[in-house]
């Protein structure tokens, strides 16, 4: 069985119709357990105090903000190479989700930065690259809305997605390229010396799974909506042709 079978809109709709109820329940469960565990079940950090609880929102949101763009890049490349409409629509569907999660990462980062760094915002490499990523998300959404021909819009947004990927990768690795910024290094590491303590790590993993599931669930729902809108557009065009023929 080929994965490309799901590039067919009817197969995609049938599959997601079956998968979405269970996926939604799993998402809600994961987020509820992860956030409740992190908020109520973990101690304060000896340096950061209670503000450490913000990582359960900030880190998963930032992770999915970057991964969201990477997913859009993969879907756009599939569109460019294989011309599967569902992949172009999935990329379009992911953009508002990614933009919102980028905003969540920036806002929660500001709430954490104020008591910790003494400032809400600083033009630090990582923060700046995230700001640029948000601009790219908004530009991507605007470009889809601005171009009427769906195929042309998919081509143009795929090109924009490719350019924006530079900033998505910069956002992830900015802490390695520049060390003069305020933002600390990776919160998660395979090195136990630099990884966050286990007491914070396990609820954080559950929250990351919850945010990843939330992203997938919302993108699937939005892709279905885009497919329905395409069908509606096709019906409208057919009705217009019939009217013209009758006139």
């Amino acid at each position: 069985m080929s994965l490309w079978r799901f590039a067919n809109p009817a197969a995609f709709m049938a599959l997601t119709d079956r998968v979405l109820p269970a996926l939604s329940v799993l998402t809600a469960l994961c987020l509820a357990v992860g956030l409740a565990w992190g908020f109520f079940g973990t101690p304060h950090d000896y340096q950061q105090g209670a503000t450490v609880k913000i990582i359960y929102l900030h880190v998963p949101a930032a992770l999915m903000a970057i991964n969201g763009w990477i997913m859009m890049l993969v879907a756009s490349l599939i569109w460019v190479i294989r011309r599967h409409h569902v992949s172009a629509l999935a990329a379009r569907a992911a953009a508002p989700v990614g933009a919102t999660l980028t905003l969540v990462a920036m806002v929660t980062g500001a709430f954490w930065g104020q008591p910790t760094w003494g400032t809400w915002w600083v033009w630090d490499p990582r923060l700046t690259s995230f700001f640029i990523l948000l601009i790219f998300y908004l530009g991507y959404i605007a470009l889809w809305e601005a171009v009427e021909d769906p195929e042309k819009a998919a081509d143009l947004t795929a090109a924009l997605c490719l350019i924006g990927s530079v900033f998505a990768l910069l956002s992830r690795y900015a802490v390695l390229f520049w060390n003069q910024g305020l933002h600390q290094g990776f919160s998660l590491s395979l090195d136990p010396e630099t990884n966050v303590a286990d007491v914070f790590y396990y609820p954080l993993l559950v929250c990351m799974a919850g945010f990843a599931l939330l992203f997938v669930t919302l993108v699937l729902i939005r892709t279905r909506t885009e497919i329905l809108r395409r069908r509606l557009r096709a019906l409208d065009l057919r009705a217009a042709h019939l009217r013209e023929g009758a006139a």
Binding site: F39, F40, H44, G49, A50, T51, K53, I54, L57, H58, A61, P96, V97, T100, L103, V104, V107, T108, F111, W112, Q114, P115, L214, L218, I221, R222, R224, T225, L228, R229, R231, L232, L235, D236, R238, A239, L242
Partner: protein
């Protein structure tokens, strides 16, 4: 009495959780409303097409 004592950082922590809840809640609401509207519009359009 609060269940969790957030100490002097109650405002930033609650602010972060509150704003995130509003943003993510709005995203979910917009997504579900758009899905429902698209389904309803398509059903109506398919009904019209059948009549024709």
């Amino acid at each position: 009495m609060m269940i969790v004592d957030l100490g002097p950082h109650a405002l930033p922590v609650l602010g972060a959780y509150g704003v995130s809840a509003v943003l993510i809640g709005a995203l979910i609401a917009v997504t579900l409303i758009a899905a429902r509207r698209a389904r309803a519009a398509l059903t109506a359009a398919e009904g019209d097409a059948d009549e024709r």
